[in-house]
């Protein structure tokens, strides 16, 4: 007990040091917009055509990071599958879902998928984008696992979607390398800002990410369910 108290005091003290450091050097809300951020805000729409600046940073200016991020998720899905493979499955009595649950989820499921695709298609105009959209889609599947008696998405199909979307992402990047000598360059026409068909490759990338994240997350949930 004493050791825990000491640990608590030490960590609170470290937190206090961090707080006082942060408070002195970076006072809340008083930092001017400068450096690359100022450039993104001023020229973001002109350069990349997306009205959501965060989106254009995520997919293009720092698109290489996002490729890495997608890789991290892919890694988590594969690593989870690798580690969980060969676990004993416990057959247990599953409570039967009620009729209301079953019926409602059946009709709700397409709506959830539609909502997910809405988010990733409008990623360059409104907040959201590929990652939350993929998770919303996965949540739809999650709902179906819980509420339907015999619903199992094909693992084969999930894995194929995931893998195909990943390779497609790299190909989109390589297209930039081939056409403009720079990986992940925005080689498509920018169009008129604030329209769905604008901002060059941003919607393409977000659609790919949406599919990829959706299938990966569904795969993770499926593995955990079956473990």
């Amino acid at each position: 007990m004493i050791r825990r108290l000491i640990a608590l005091l030490v960590s609170l003290y470290l937190g206090y040091i961090l707080y006082s450091f942060v408070y002195v050097h970076f006072p809340f809300g008083e930092r001017p917009l400068r450096g690359v951020a100022a450039h993104y805000v001023e020229n973001g729409i002109k350069e990349e055509g997306a009205t959501n600046i965060v989106t254009s940073i995520v997919t293009l200016y720092r698109g290489f990071d996002t490729l890495g991020e997608v890789t991290v998720l892919f890694l988590a899905a594969t690593g989870l599958g690798l580690i969980l493979a060969g676990m004993k499955r416990e057959e247990e009595e599953k409570p039967e879902p009620t009729l209301i649950m079953e019926t409602v989820t059946k009709y709700l499921f397409p709506l959830v998928l539609l909502f997910g695709s809405y988010i990733f298609i409008h990623g360059h105009l409104t907040p959201g984008g590929g990652f939350p959209a993929g998770v919303v889609i996965a949540t739809g599947y999650f709902m179906m696992f819980i509420a339907q008696r015999s619903f199992t998405p094909s693992e084969y199909l999930l894995s194929a979607t995931e893998s195909f979307a990943g390779t497609l992402y790299v190909i989109v990047g390589l297209l930039g390398l081939a056409l403009a000598f720079s990986f992940l360059d925005n080689v498509m026409p920018l169009g008129i800002p604030n329209r769905v068909f604008s901002a060059g490759i941003i919607p393409v990338i977000y659609i790919i990410i949406g599919f990829k994240v959706g299938s990966e997350m569904t795969g993770i949930l499926l593995h955990l369910k079956e473990a």
């Binding site: 951020a37 450039h39 993104y40 698109g63 892919f74 893998s163 390779t167 190909i171 720079s182």
Partner: protein, 486 residues
């Protein structure tokens, strides 16, 4: 000219396409990693002549730094990138000999190499964090993929410390971003004089914690002996030959290039010297040979950080060359030791020193390979380790640090004692004979051969290492070649 960004893009492409290839034929996935490494090696080697003074700039998203992410490859990063690909290639050949049902293992392996090559090639701080995460998460997976109790426990510990360490690394990046308004390494380095000292100190401590997990600095190395011990032998090789070397690269890059000389040198010095002494003493006490190798690995990393912290401030190119030579020797030597130890125990995963009795006499080839690794690590003549140790002693003597010299000689004696103990045990008494395939033996022979060849003709390696170290010291060159005339 082939753009080096393809090293990352093609590796990713191949890793993503493994499930598709698996659907075509179940036999394909094992051949993907060697193919990827070969392509990467080819790309990197064709780029050697394009990397001149300063760094080579590769933009992404069609915009100049610091607006978009860029890769920055100077001779130092090229050296480490090629080292990573070579060891990755050898390991991936080694994996060909093993029957593995799960294709996901190869994906993890490939992404691990990808993370390491990403870290050494990127010119952007946050990008290095992303690749660090790729490296770490794939390492947890690889360590835990042995799926026995030890592997799982080692993997979990690594995960716990790695997760918090890398988060603090991220906080360090953010602090630098807030004070400079940019994430580009060269740009931050250029703006470094304008940052207040307290912010520098604070952020460098955060970076130290993040990198300390990778380079196994005390007290962040609690995971290391367990993960090395718990992981399969090839994975231990990967941990010691690739992952910790990437940590050294990152430490040198961040502290030397960005901060322009080690910041918080005293802290690093004391931590490194503690790591070095404690780990070597712990290795002396071990009865378990693999754990002994693990502690010796940790000690070696401590030694590398020690030399970095002592000499970085003086701008001593020769000492940095020593760091590179030691890292190279350790990468090949320890890798060889872990691999051959696995075969010497007949993959029973029982590493007790008593059980190894006579194993070297019963399997002379393996015994010879293990002995080669040991001789190179302790620095016997005609092996590469000799030259790295000699240059280490010379650089310390030149700097007139007699207490350090005395300490090092003492620790080397300790090292000599415990390694000699193992070797004597290996060749004493009767042991069991194990069958071993052609591929593992030839991979280990390649490791051993490179140690001997580098040992007999040290001049080219020395020259390459010197160039790499010199390019690390050319800080203003690095900045101006990335940012242009800005």
């Amino acid at each position: 000219m082939v753009s080096p960004v393809l090293v990352i893009a093609l590796t990713l492409f191949l890793a993503f396409s493994i499930p598709l290839l698996h659907m075509l034929s179940k036999k394909l996935p094992p051949f993907v990693p060697p193919l990827a490494m070969l392509i990467n090696l080819w790309i990197l080697i064709t780029n050697i002549k394009h990397v001149g003074e300063g760094a080579m700039l590769i933009t992404t998203a069609g915009l100049k730094p610091p607006i978009a992410i860029n890769l920055a490859i100077d001779k130092f990063s090229l050296f480490f990138a090629i080292l990573i690909q070579v060891i990755g290639f050898l390991l991936s050949i080694y994996y060909l000999s093993q029957e593995r049902k799960d294709m996901r293992f190869y994906m993890l392996f490939l992404l691990n190499i990808l993370g390491a090559s990403g870290i050494v090639m990127t010119g952007d701080l946050f990008n290095s964090f992303v690749f660090l995460e790729i490296l770490e998460i794939s390492s947890f997976g690889l360590v835990a993929s042995g799926k026995d109790k030890k592997a799982l426990e080692g993997g979990f510990k690594y995960m716990m410390i790695g997760a918090i360490g890398s988060s603090l690394y991220l906080l360090g990046i953010i602090v630098l971003y807030l004070s400079t308004g940019t994430l580009n390494m060269a740009h931050i380095a250029k703006l470094m004089p304008s940052i207040p000292d307290s912010v520098k100190l604070f952020s460098s401590i955060l970076f130290l914690i993040g990198i300390g997990v990778e380079v196994e600095l005390f007290p962040l190395n609690a995971w290391a002996p367990d993960a090395y011990h718990g992981a399969m032998d090839e994975i231990s090789t990967q941990l010691s030959s690739i992952i910790s070397k990437t940590g050294i690269y990152l430490a040198a890059r961040i502290f030397l290039t960005i901060y322009g000389g080690l910041y918080a040198t005293n802290i690093i010095f004391y931590l490194a010297i503690t790591t070095f002494i404690i780990a070597e003493l712990a290795a002396l006490m071990q009865k378990n040979v693999k754990r002994m190798l693990a502690y010796s690995s940790v000690g070696q990393m401590g030694l590398l950080m020690l030399i970095l912290s002592v000499f970085a401030k003086r701008g001593d190119v020769f000492a940095l060359t020593t760091v590179i030579l030691l890292a190279l020797n350790h990468a090949f030597g320890k890798g060889l030791l872990f691999l051959s130890l696995g075969s010497l125990t007949g993959n029973t995963r029982n590493y007790d020193i008593e059980d190894l009795k006579g194993a070297g006499r019963a399997n002379p080839v393996l015994g010879f390979l293990f002995a080669t690794g040991v001789l190179s690590i302790i620095g016997m003549p005609i092996f590469f380790g000799f030259w790295s140790k000699i240059s280490l002693l010379i650089s310390i003597m030149k700097a007139n640090l007699m207490y350090l010299l005395a300490l090092l000689l003492l620790v080397f004696l300790v090292e000599l004692y415990y390694y000699a103990n193992v070797i004597v045990n290996l060749f004493k008494g009767e042991g069991k004979k194990y069958r071993i395939g052609v591929i593992p033996v030839s991979v280990m022979l390649l490791f051993a051969l490179s140690l001997i060849v580098f040992g007999l003709w040290p001049h080219p390696v020395f020259k390459i290492a010197q160039n790499a170290a010199a390019s690390l010291m050319e800080r203003s060159m690095y900045i101006s070649s990335i940012l242009g005339g800005m």
